[in-house]
């Protein structure tokens, strides 16, 4: 009797332990999960060791690990399980309200002076958007649907929030791969862009010195976000969430009377949203959703779009120089900054410029096309949304 009772007792414990084992990650792990966890670790390594976009790659990398912990379905903890904590946080990505909030912060921390003092640099920001539509055409040729191609093409805008915003609207299934691809290539801007810049410029062109930008008055700085918003939003109303927040953030900064709001927008607010967007985008890359042939295609197209965007920016400056007088010419090394990876691509312009002339600092000049690229990519996203949404 006692033996039988103890046998039942131990078999019950065994059953419970066995049941518990079924809930653990070890029982549910697949090769895909392990592969994704390794990718997450690589992201964290790159962010910490190389300091490439650490503010984004650390949350995304850790998010990839969190999202790929093998789960027993039905526990309401996974990011795709309705009502779970991660799912609630993920709504900011799905519904597209994180990216505009990030744009608010970007607006509040961006100084458009370089652009206002030399407005022709705006055109470089427009030219670099060729990357988006080049990648769009290639994606169509590879068999992606127009909506998917549009979402993939926006990687060429080199703007993570815009890529997330647009892909959440046009191709939610591909959003994880697109976001990771966009941020990866943004982190790799110092590696991808210099060879392209050297390829399309001559030694003489790299030595071009540009006029120092003039001082910009406060009135001009205040007018820029208002006029800029009205003009761009009237032309592309579908870009309203991004353009509105970008210029609103900038008005908070430049008005001079909303210092607290501007500091919150460019400080705690953007930090909080960056943490949430990075983590949840990382989490969304669950192995079964992410490890597909399409994801590889997206990464290849992302690289192509960055190449086209950089080349288009540089070549456009060379073309533009044909119409400019001597002394007013633009150094084509700032053409790459038309992609809106702020401020990394402007830094790349400066560093490559210094390689050829140690006294030729291009940073401030490159900031013009760089912030123009932010406006350009938001406008391009609005157009794609209008045509394909």
């Amino acid at each position: 009797m006692i033996l039988e009772a103890s046998h039942n007792f131990f078999s019950l414990i065994g059953e419970n332990l066995n049941q518990f084992l079924q809930y653990t990650g070890f029982a549910n792990a697949t090769v895909g999960h392990i592969a994704m966890i390794i990718i997450g670790l690589i992201f964290i390594y790159i962010a910490i060791k190389k300091e490439w976009e650490p503010l984004l790659l650390v949350p995304i990398g850790f998010g990839i690990i969190v999202g790929n912990i093998p789960l027993f379905p039905g526990l309401s903890v996974g990011i795709y399980e309705e009502g779970s904590v991660l799912n609630i946080l993920y709504q900011g990505v799905v519904k597209g309200w994180y990216p505009p909030l990030i744009f608010l912060g970007i607006g509040a921390m961006t100084d458009f002076s370089a652009l206002i003092s030399n407005p022709k640099l705006l055109l470089i920001g427009a030219a670099a958007q060729f990357g988006i539509f080049g990648a769009y055409a290639i994606a169509l040729a590879l068999g992606f649907t127009p909506a998917e191609a549009g979402a993939i093409g926006i990687i060429g805008g080199a703007d993570g929030p815009t890529a997330i915003f647009l892909s959440s609207r046009l191709a939610p299934d591909l959003m994880g791969a697109i976001a990771v691809s966009a941020y990866s290539y943004m982190a790799l801007v110092p590696v991808i862009q210099p060879p392209v810049m050297r390829l399309f410029t001559t030694h003489k062109e790299r030595l071009i010195r540009m006029k120092s930008p003039r001082a910009v008055s406060k009135r001009e700085k205040i007018m820029f976000p208002i006029v800029g918003f009205l003009l761009t939003a009237f032309i592309v109303p579908s870009g309203l969430p991004l353009l509105g927040m970008l210029f609103f953030g900038n008005l908070l900064k430049e008005s001079g009377v909303t210092r607290r709001l501007a500091e919150t927008a460019r400080g705690p607010l953007i930090d909080v949203i960056t943490i949430l967007i990075g983590l949840t985008v990382g989490c969304s890359t669950q192995a079964d959703e992410f490890l597909r042939l399409k994801s590889i295609g997206i990464f290849v197209l992302g690289a192509a779009s960055f190449f086209i965007a950089t080349a288009a920016g540089v070549l456009f400056v060379k073309f533009f120089n044909l119409f400019l007088k001597e002394g007013n010419k633009i150094n084509p090394l700032i053409g790459n900054a038309g992609v809106s990876a702020v401020p990394d691509s402007a830094r790349v312009s400066n560093l490559v410029g210094l390689e050829y002339d140690k006294t030729n600092y291009l940073l401030m000049h490159a900031m013009g096309p760089n912030v123009a690229g932010v406006i350009g990519s938001a406008v391009a996203a609005g157009i794609l949304l209008g045509f394909l949404g």
Binding site: D111, A126, T145, P146, V216, M364, A372, L388
Partner: protein, 328 residues
Amino acid sequence: MKNHIRTLLLFGALTLSYTMSGQNMAAIRINEVQSVNTDGYIDDYGCRNGWIELFNTSYGTVDIGGCYLTDDPNDLTKYMIPKGDALTKIPPRQHVLFYADNLPDRGTFHISFDIPNAKQVIFVSNNGRTIIDEVTLPEGGIPANKSYGRVVDGEGSSEPTHFLQRSIRVAQKERAAGEDHGWAILDKVTPSTNNLTLDGDSKSTTMGKTDPYGVIMAIVAMSVVFVALILLYVVFKKIGNRAVIKSHLKEAASKGDVASVASVKGKESTSAEVFAAIAMAFHLYKEDNEIHDFENTILTIHKESKSYSPWSSKIYTLRETPQVRRNK
């Protein structure tokens, strides 16, 4: 002056709030009406009655609780839609159906009159006076088991078009020709659903068919991007030019230099003395052993080779305008 501004602001806020509440209600349209129903839609009591369909044309939810439905222009408050019913909140671009069975005791959506002989149907705002939408029904009535509705949900004028008892195909042709005949005897009776069934192709699919290589998209989109940024360029070029002229004028005026002010305004070109001085400087530089470079505080055309530049200075950040301190 301040009081005027405050009054204007208050007036503006009041107007805005009035317009906003008005806009919500104004978005409701009578969309489809069936007077005689003997073999069609069955209500929640298992009965067949005439019905009135309303449509929310806006992209926000509109609560029609407290509004009125009537078939009598002399009695605009004939049936008040009960307040506080969650079902009277019509979601964006959605329909709601009222059964014209003269049995209001059966619930919110059963109104206090029937409409087999009605001449018109009117939807009235919650103030009981403002007519939001009305439709005059066809002379002789709507044929039994047919409905009279808008060709496209929520679109077209509400002008009486009862004399045009035409089919929906005719109405669609008229609409395509730019004529505004919003109402017709519909081919299909469609309670609580769209009168016009949209074709299945999304924008993306249509774009894929019309532009399989993405060339048209690239040309159109890049043109739009360039137009937007060229406009910005043009505007800020103008603003910049004005700002430069203004700052020069200010500078010159502060120095009391009348000649410079006139020069900046473009009324007088640079004086001959200035050109002479520049020519002399070049001459001295080229012919007289670069004499200027041995003089202190003289402007030189020699290239200054120094590794330091304000652009590389860490004290100037990209995000903040450097603050200039002036010692008093």
